[in-house]
Symmetry: C2
Subunit: 494 residues, 2 copies
């Protein structure tokens, strides 16, 4: 077994001494990602400058069977980039170049460390933008977006990362380079591009991303509607989509979220409403006008107590400001909150929201819902006070019950935040042993030794723990003493 | 090794005697799919009635290491359902039930043997339709569509099969049942749904398909434009998309195709044009009107010599009739033709078409192009006469050169017809040995013995022929004496 010193020497040859971090103080910022309660000090942090260096780092680690954990901007919300105590934390932050914006092909070719919003900024002069817009878009990187298959407010219309990535360059754990996807809609061979997207850094390290760009819509307008009942609002969501209208965004908030957001942002939200819908319509002017009329009618038919349409860009921005600041605003209501990320079939919205409110009474903990209603992606924020004895445990149990309910109605345990370390045990609720074994076989097809981001994403099948003798998976090596505690606040909702 | 007789007895227990076919005359219709020059007589044909029987058939075959080739409607154009001489041909044709149409979720749940068009027919009373529409849609089945990731005229706007499948039930080669995908946009775990789609029956047998349905557009109109030059037409294609307009369909034809289609269908095509574009715009009336104006302007700016807009549904149908009958119409120009299916980046359209016409002069063989211009999916039809000595070989060489050109400009060797048996050697042009090895590892993760549709899709890596000692791949067992000859006519273009 190579020592830390020996490994550092080998990697210094590859990336230079200033990009191999050995001392604890300098490694500290890499101990966790967006969920700071999960913390592990990595053996080494390495910051390669380009794809060749990434390949060389992986070759060295593979040769010595050293675990490697890739990391983007560190904004992830499931501890997917949590370091390995005896491994290398591979930061992609120096690969931050926009290689090209090609308006004639409507694509951007970028390195993984480029921030999500930087792509749209660079494309703007050509009248183009990049569709997926996680709320963390000013900070999160496109490499991390690929790893998590990130979504955002506009994914209902413009799709998730998977729907907007055209090609990837990937380095596998042995240091071999692959080009996945390409310029055409379909490709021969198995769809490696799709399998890499959302694979949480477990199959390969992405070193170049080609994304499709979309024309910036001529017009965008927001309808803001208040409701006296969650059920009315949930039914209105189903009706809008059911009428064949695909809004750019269709977001919902409930009572505590509305109040907190309004106190914070002064966006003119109806503070006495039980539920609020924000519906953005975009496209050409004729289309948007027509859709505003149709959506207004649907909202009225579903007993909206108030409907407002943004008159100009300034008002539209203000309406969104409330939504975008809802997470930190809710943070002011309570010392701590626990952010969940489950997805349900849209038709169960009313039922699940009603159940969550019933559970809220049962647990004696307030809950605020701020979420992507159009695609059924819930983000319940459970409010609690960690200093009150027993509240943390109650919040955890409440959260687990919400996810179990999501699975029960045919949904899933994560919409866009990933599984990472945080939800690895809940994967057993979602999948059978048979399915988990299939995931492991797939993982092995890319990483036979299991050294790339080990212990994340896929738990050992219950009855097949003998299956993967090759991985050194040991949950205890990933968790600090405070681990398994829920996330305490944070603004990185998507 | 189990004998044919013993195997037939075992499978008879599963599906009943009348659904196990042993005699050559009854097996004859299963010898080939849409490419009739590839023919192999299977050992047995088995027709299970439901998913349980499919699982049992697979379990029996797996236990005895018998190759299994799944087959949908047999309309495929790459010999993907070509039987194995010592294997079972597993026909899914009896699994032909529409299980449910659910307008509130906008999905249809169907068995794999349901014909593509039957889904749209069943959804029509609810104002919904299924997007992907291969030209063979009256005959091809949705299971085959999933296997080939089928496209069609409207895939530019509505996507390929992969973009329209929500969930799959799959039985693996050992007979285990998996549910892939589900009701939400993203799912935790690796994206098995995506990897199954387009996997050409090599990873599992699909026994249930849930597809998303789309609202039938209020209005659809077609613009028909003639051009004096291929380059003008190709540039107009790029300009339409470049202006952010995504037509429902954007099809192109060149001289011979125009003339043949017009003689056949009397659709009012300009017979003296070098190129013709058919551009369908659909959506709500306001949007379509606006887009017709914009597209007309773009076509004029790109020197269209004539532009016509369909005045009513009857005229729209007539305009499409010419396109849809172009393949058989071209068939009347020449005793034989060879249909290619390559894809190129849209921006290379003018260059590649010009090159194809240059090659046409060089080989002394006429070529007719009828294709999905919007997504760069070419279908050159090479006209030849197999009775003229040397013409077949010239046509084959011409076809290979076209595909090599597609790869050279960054495209690929198949747009929607798949690799199957036909293009297995061309996969070496598209992919490196490294990539082919990765595909094989992925295949093994689902099918360790390599008995599911063996010898299709992925060739052995040149330098790694020792790699898969477990498969019995022997190309000679798949080909009849006439194999490796190109397709002779046929109406099954997509």
């Amino acid at each position: 077994m190579v020592t830390r010193k020996e490994l550092a020497a080998l990697l210094t040859v590859v990336v230079g001494a200033e990009h191999v971090i050995e001392d604890d103080e300098s490694k500290k910022p890499f101990e966790c990602d967006g969920i700071s309660v999960y913390q592990v000090m990595p053996m080494l942090v390495v910051l390669p400058a380009n794809s060749e260096q990434v390949a060389a780092v992986l070759r060295v680690c593979h040769q010595h069977k050293i675990p490697v954990v890739p990391r983007g901007a560190g904004t992830g919300l499931s501890a997917g980039a949590l370091p390995h105590r005896e491994g290398v934390l591979l930061s992609l932050s120096r690969l931050d170049r926009i290689i090209s914006i090609e308006p004639d092909r409507a694509v951007a070719v970028v390195q993984p460390g480029v921030r999500n919003i930087a792509i749209s900024d660079a494309a703007k002069p050509y009248g183009l933008f990049y569709g997926p817009d996680p709320s963390s878009q000013i900070a999160c990187s496109i490499g991390g977006n690929v790893a998590e298959n990130a979504g955002g407010v506009h994914c209902l219309k413009y799709g998730l990362t998977i729907h907007n990535v055209v090609a990837l360059e990937m380095i596998d754990i042995t240091g071999e380079r692959f080009k996945l996807g390409g310029g055409s809609l379909d490709q021969p061979g198995f769809d490696l591009l799709a399998i890499l997207t959302g694979s949480e850094g477990m199959l390969g390290v992405v070193t170049e991303v080609t994304v499709q760009l979309l024309p910036i819509p001529d017009v965008a307008q927001v309808l803001l509607a208040g409701f006296d009942s969650l059920t009315y609002a949930a039914d209105a969501v189903g009706a809008i989509i059911g009428h064949g209208i695909i809004p750019g965004g269709l977001e919902m908030m409930d009572r505590y979220a509305i109040q907190a957001a309004e106190d914070f942002a002064k966006a003119g939200y109806p503070k006495d409403a039980e539920a609020l819908l924000l519906c953005e319509l975009d496209g050409n002017a004729a289309e948007v006008n027509d859709q505003i009329d149709r959506v207004s009618t649907i909202l009225s038919e579903h007993h909206a107590s108030s409907i407002r349409v943004s008159a100009d860009e300034q008002e539209r921005a203000l309406m969104w400001k409330g939504r975008k600041s809802a997470f930190p605003a809710v943070g002011r209501l309570s010392p701590d909150y626990y952010c969940m990320d489950g997805t349900i079939p849209r038709r169960h919205l009313a039922h699940v929201l009603t159940e969550i409110h019933r559970m809220s009474d049962q647990f004696g903990l307030r809950v605020a819902n701020v979420f992507h209603a159009g695609d059924g992606n819930l983000h319940p924020l459970i409010l609690f006070d960690a200093n009150q004895s027993g509240e943390l445990e109650k919040a955890e149990k409440f959260g687990a019950d919400i996810l179990a309910l999501c699975v029960k109605v045919g949904g899933c345990i994560t919409g866009e935040h990933g599984v990472g370390s945080e939800k690895i045990n809940q994967m057993r609720e979602q999948f059978t042993d048979l399915e988990l074994s299939q995931f492991h076989r797939l993982k092995e097809a890319f990483d036979v030794d299991g050294t790339l981001n080990p212990g994340k994403g896929i738990p050992e099948p219950k009855h097949c723990q003998e299956y993967r003798t090759l991985t050194n998976f040991d949950a205890s090596t990933f968790l600090s003493s405070t681990a398994n505690r829920p996330e305490m606040g944070g603004e990185n909702d998507r």
